[in-house]
Symmetry: C3
Subunit: 423 residues, 3 copies
Amino acid sequence: MLKREDNERLVRVGPGTVGGEFMRRYWQPAVLSSELPEPDGPPVRVRLLAEDLIAFRDTAGTVALVDAYCPHRRAPLFYGRNEECGLRCVYHGWKFDRAGNCVDMPSEPPGTPLQAKVKLRAYPTCERGGVVWTYMGPEDKRPPEPDFEWLRAPPTHQFVSKTFEHCNYLQAMEGGLDTAHSSFLHDNRLGDTVALRSRDRAPRIAVEPTDYGYRYSSTRSADEANEYVRVYHFVMPNQQIRAMTTAPSGERAEVPKIDGHVWVPIDDEHCWVYNWAYGYDENAPLTPAFIEAIETFAGRGPDDLIPGTFKLKRNLENDFMIDRELQKTSTYTGITGLNTQDMALQEGMGPIVDRSREFLGSSDRAIVTMRRLMLEAIRAVEAGDAPRGVNPEVARDIRAHDGYVPRGGDWHTLFADELKARW
Amino acid sequence: MLKREDNERLVRVGPGTVGGEFMRRYWQPAVLSSELPEPDGPPVRVRLLAEDLIAFRDTAGTVALVDAYCPHRRAPLFYGRNEECGLRCVYHGWKFDRAGNCVDMPSEPPGTPLQAKVKLRAYPTCERGGVVWTYMGPEDKRPPEPDFEWLRAPPTHQFVSKTFEHCNYLQAMEGGLDTAHSSFLHDNRLGDTVALRSRDRAPRIAVEPTDYGYRYSSTRSADEANEYVRVYHFVMPNQQIRAMTTAPSGERAEVPKIDGHVWVPIDDEHCWVYNWAYGYDENAPLTPAFIEAIETFAGRGPDDLIPGTFKLKRNLENDFMIDRELQKTSTYTGITGLNTQDMALQEGMGPIVDRSREFLGSSDRAIVTMRRLMLEAIRAVEAGDAPRGVNPEVARDIRAHDGYVPRGGDWHTLFADELKARW
Amino acid sequence: MLKREDNERLVRVGPGTVGGEFMRRYWQPAVLSSELPEPDGPPVRVRLLAEDLIAFRDTAGTVALVDAYCPHRRAPLFYGRNEECGLRCVYHGWKFDRAGNCVDMPSEPPGTPLQAKVKLRAYPTCERGGVVWTYMGPEDKRPPEPDFEWLRAPPTHQFVSKTFEHCNYLQAMEGGLDTAHSSFLHDNRLGDTVALRSRDRAPRIAVEPTDYGYRYSSTRSADEANEYVRVYHFVMPNQQIRAMTTAPSGERAEVPKIDGHVWVPIDDEHCWVYNWAYGYDENAPLTPAFIEAIETFAGRGPDDLIPGTFKLKRNLENDFMIDRELQKTSTYTGITGLNTQDMALQEGMGPIVDRSREFLGSSDRAIVTMRRLMLEAIRAVEAGDAPRGVNPEVARDIRAHDGYVPRGGDWHTLFADELKARW
């Protein structure tokens, strides 16, 4: 349960809101690199933190991220021409470079002083791990560029995609941080008591705050001798890192990988889910066939998206194509696609969930802690201080892991090596 | 004409509004029984009085009507599993019975005290006449269950359907109570002066308030010797009962029947129209062919609905497929379907009509009285008193009738027997 | 740049707004005559200055423009029957003539005093130049009927169409008055330095206020000996008049014509663009083939509209079918259709542009003057005075012109004859 007022502080992300100012202190994913495949290609609309922007890759190959409207008479720059290191407004030909300077103003007499005065709002970008990142906060608070291990993994071992979600980023992220639900929502083999998650549906959750957010573990009984432990990270303000390295048998997975999500607010009622993964093992790259398989399993394979969009064909308008017979007989939800199941629950809550009407249990510990850290960080920003985790250095060397631990053993010791980044 | 403030009192039906509290003192239709055909079948979304609810038929065959969101973290119960006398949320497996008790909480440690504390809002239901009824008011004010004659008629003689309407329930109901419009809106044989309604287009209306609402009559000249009288009932707060027992010739109809509507607020801008009918004559059941014929005549036959919905194919978006040539030459409106004609007018007013801009005439007497009784009843609820007609007993034995009355005769005497329920 | 408050004064047009009262002092186009092709034909919905109205051509052939709702119980008159010099509401048969008098009230007893009391709001109309005009202001301020030259040109030489636009009328009109943009937005032959507009992209603009609004000129270098001058008119409150009489070569065009637009507010976020043209030369009528060619060039030819509407197939929802390859190689925008290019820019600004965030230059002089005159006129209306240009007499005799002027020459003298109406 959250006071209504605290809920508002967390979920509102537009310019001038406290939650929005907080989110603007961190580098955020703006677009996939693949959306801007070539220099001087078509500009792309980007809505981020309730601001309408345009991204374009200029002649030098650098991505610009600028206000969606020309400062002259507010013409839409989406229709602009991406020419010779700048975007030219097609209304009167004013041209701006990626820093927002007006580099040509042909509708005015040569030498007009107006040209030096007019600026197009432009945000800095950097490109890492297949993602164009941007920083939308005050210039004097700009932190170093993002440096997570998944951004450093070799291209052969790395993968990223994104999905549109029609709800506030916070309830999407809460679904991601929540570990207990996997025993229910994602139970796709009803009655199979062999699966780890089905054998112990009330995992014990321990949360350890860190400089970057927190590390947390879920512990389930595996067999008489062992427990199955997953160690995850919540990286402020909107990322989760987790591992898929152990097969249900307790053996190492064939292609062990780390994966995670970044939940990026489009505005108060919509978000982008960036889905990333990288191979753990130098000798096991993520092949295209493997990537297609995991994306399809997640529900966002090549056949699952509405062409030309990042939206699922199975969506809120068609009740995620729930199959009630399947739900009765074979899977818990009757909904196909692991993350489609998540999305059904998250979007089905309505665009902004009213947290003042919740009843939280012990399985919600990770979520409760996340909210507390976020509210603290918002207060820090209001007080003029740096919020937790703003320096990417603090999350540079972390990795997630999952595996078997003999009863009585301590994963802190046993997993110590595996929890350190190697790329 | 109604003061703007009184209009607001009548049309707003959400929780906490005076009109909403008033409507909540009566049993209301929630769904058709046929929408929940089997125990443990798929749950159904129900929006009623601006509340989002879920109905499901449990293993025992009883219909539950509960909040649409799980009290844990507000996950949508529409995606829930209807299992063994309860609905299980697919997020974390919490399960609730039809009374709203949490009967399983598998994501928490066994014996957690949380389980007894958490309640899902649940409304009582009863099932009569092919309709699931619910009571959404304070428990200590709950009246006895509905007991109209149409609910007691044998299944062979009874029929009920429902239609979605995109406007406030009050303007839909006003269209139903209004008797004068049938001479115009429903004139489907232009120039035919034989039809009763065409011969006398300014019926005299008399309204007699009763314990359940009012009884009213419309009287038209039929021929030199006779008048044609229809006696109807308005049953508080949202039902009309009327008769179709007399053929235009003055003879008894082949299949004499009573029918009516209940106009149930979905929210301020939408309503359900329940359309019911029952045979008057023990020897004349309502056969499927007869039902199909009357539903088709009304405009909601098997071919008139958008499949999978209760919405008309002829609707506001396509101007009810008005045929202007037909309107010029053959029917008054050019719109096909008796109740489709009603709906065109009612929806065409906009979602909530502004009654402060009306000019009412003598033909509006029934409507004026209805508004007065409704406003009185709202005041009664505000004062802590029981509103008119809240005890179904008072409308138990009424029936509607229509027929010829010799000039100078009194229908009160002549129709006395026919106006008493027999089923 | 405009103060936010002044922007609001200009863009809001509903009843009771200062901008709306101002617009109501002038005759405005309501529908095309061709939308009401025959007496007693189907009524047409008209939304104008945020009022919902119905137009119908009565038995006498005169167009009525009345409130969209019956004064009785607010039934929609769109479904009404257009009968014998009046529109009859199909709810209870009340019938109104084009002046708004109730001429029949059959649902009430004969001789009811209600009939004389009830009025349907009705606006006066007149029909000229293929357009039905209406006056929606106070009766005692009604000006003489519109009398522009294009309304007097013979039918063989005259043409008018209309297009729906999804934005406030003011930003659409600003696009029309703006002359500098034609060198960019409408540059459909990239790199062609022969075209007049491409050779000199920073035209000098001179604005001369007049009784009807203003006359303005744009002057571009043509060749060593000549300048190319276009002389336009802005006619208060929402019309532009301009000429296309000179071919790029400097010769007179084969079919010299005057054309223009009237931008009529539907409501704050939508407008109609009336597109008119008339032949300048008695011997060069506007043939159907010529009209089809110019309309197609403008982007609203027979194949460009969504059938049954005045909406473009190339529209905001499909990014005006922008072709980025075409934009890179051949035309400035990649958008096909001259006025479609305008519409892309105007609608792409959002429904109401925020003028407090502009940076205006010298090329915006005509727009700045227009805003100033409009704000002055609004103040005049508030003060009880007549706004500029309200008497059509003052714009009766004007004409636009374009042509070559030898350097050092004065177009005022050289064009004097051509700038006077002849029809």
